[in-house]
Symmetry: none
Subunit: 260 residues, 2 copies
């Protein structure tokens, strides 16, 4: 289970925090680290020193440009969030996150990403809206900003406890037969298609977004779509586009009302 949990750090500024994150991960049995657009060299003498023997995790960590790339194959992405945002999003505690993991990771294709933001400013709203849920580590309200590696430590600790617990109580859960869930990449493909279609039918104006896409994201992610369900939804979008202005699959017929 633990090998299918990925820690994603976005825009990290301090190599020491990357090294300390690797140490915290390895201590708890996690090994999959991804770095999104780090604002520092990941491998320095300081990061290696703070990794204290876990620098192989930093060596192996892919460096990518966007959150999407880092979580494309993940079936659940949870963003660490310090504060409540204007748009409410499913918010869970670290403990509740741990309790969900055995179920989330029951399928062999499933993979969970825990996403951490910048030392100074955390995750952006756009990044948070790419996550199914947010996890908030309860802190002193007067002094709420945890060190990055400390936050990773707390969540990795909860992952390990959940794993130990699941391992010891391996009794058959009341498992529904699992359909494969849509991956993050498939979901993003769907949201892009949805936005295009809503523009085509005149329902959405990107110049006046009114949080429309954010609300549709939140709704859709809450349902945890299966891959097959997402295929149906994309089929509906394709049919909507064709009906609004494109050509039919049977070919031949053309409508020229794209601009109308």
């Amino acid at each position: 289970m633990l090998e299918r949990i990925r820690i994603v750090l976005i825009g990290t500024s301090h190599p020491g925090n990357i090294g300390a994150t690797a140490r915290a991960m390895h201590n708890m049995g996690l090994g999959d680290l991804a770095l999104v657009a780090p604002r520092c060299q990941p491998l320095t003498s300081e990061s290696i020193s703070r990794a204290s023997g876990a620098d192989h995790i930093v060596h192996a960590a892919p460096v990518v440009e966007t959150l999407e790339e880092a979580v494309a194959d993940c079936t659940l992405a949870v963003g660490a969030s310090a504060r409540s945002r204007t748009l409410p999003w499913p918010m869970i505690t670290p403990r509740a996150l741990g309790e969900r993991l055995p179920t989330e990771l029951a399928g062999s294709e499933s993979r969970v990403a825990l996403v951490f933001g910048r030392e100074d400013s955390g995750l952006t709203n756009a990044e948070l809206q790419r996550c199914h849920a947010h996890v908030h580590i309860p802190t002193n309200s007067d002094f709420s900003s945890l060190n990055l590696a400390a936050a990773v430590q707390v969540l990795a600790y909860e992952c390990r406890l959940a794993w130990l617990e699941a391992d010891s109580s391996d009794a058959g859960q009341e498992d529904e037969p699992h359909q494969p869930l849509a991956s993050h990449g498939e979901l993003e493909g769907y949201f892009a298609h949805l936005e295009r279609t809503l523009i085509t039918i005149g329902f959405h104006d990107p110049a006046l977004p009114r949080q429309l896409m954010a609300r549709l994201r939140r709704f859709t992610l809450r349902a945890r779509p299966e891959r097959m369900e997402l295929n149906i939804l994309r089929g509906i979008l394709t049919a909507t586009e064709k009906s609004a202005g494109g050509s039919t699959p049977e070919g031949g017929r053309q409508r020229d009302n794209r601009q109308a």
Copy 2:
């Protein structure tokens, strides 16, 4: 309760770990630090930097020569121990420690010390035997030595959770503010509208239903739509219908592709 929990560091070598410990403590609402025979200057630029605004805790920390002095007024001392020792001792998990705290700290005179050893060698057997119990943070057996401040972070986090739990006889979880959910009738109205629209755009043939509506129902109901979300979805359906065959809201455009 939290103000009567003391963190005791014995023989610390790295000022950065003292600063990071202060930060971890303050994040979790702890403030009482004692330093036993530190092997470094507690206040350096590095410790202040790592404290990140919590250095008042280091400034206020008494420096004493022995564990006895540091815990003299404590009613319970718990030693953090990485490994099982030759002499069996009551061993508790961090979670069990948290669960014990409200009872342990019920009396106004009571005080609990959490004792942490040296970065390189932990607590001595003599020190461990001065503790009522030992607490072991579960770790990867191949890589078990936590950073000192990370270990403090985990135990301080468990202290805070225990305090929050004890405090919240009001069952008010950190719930998102709830929007009213769609009623059954509203949902049925939506599903009827959805089915009409899917027929209009040629995606659904009621003569060959292929469980399409059942799948869309299951997906939608799983998300427990709010009323506002359902209104958005109905707005999309209306725009889809107009785009497919009716007139646009701006008027004028007509497409005759209903049968196509």
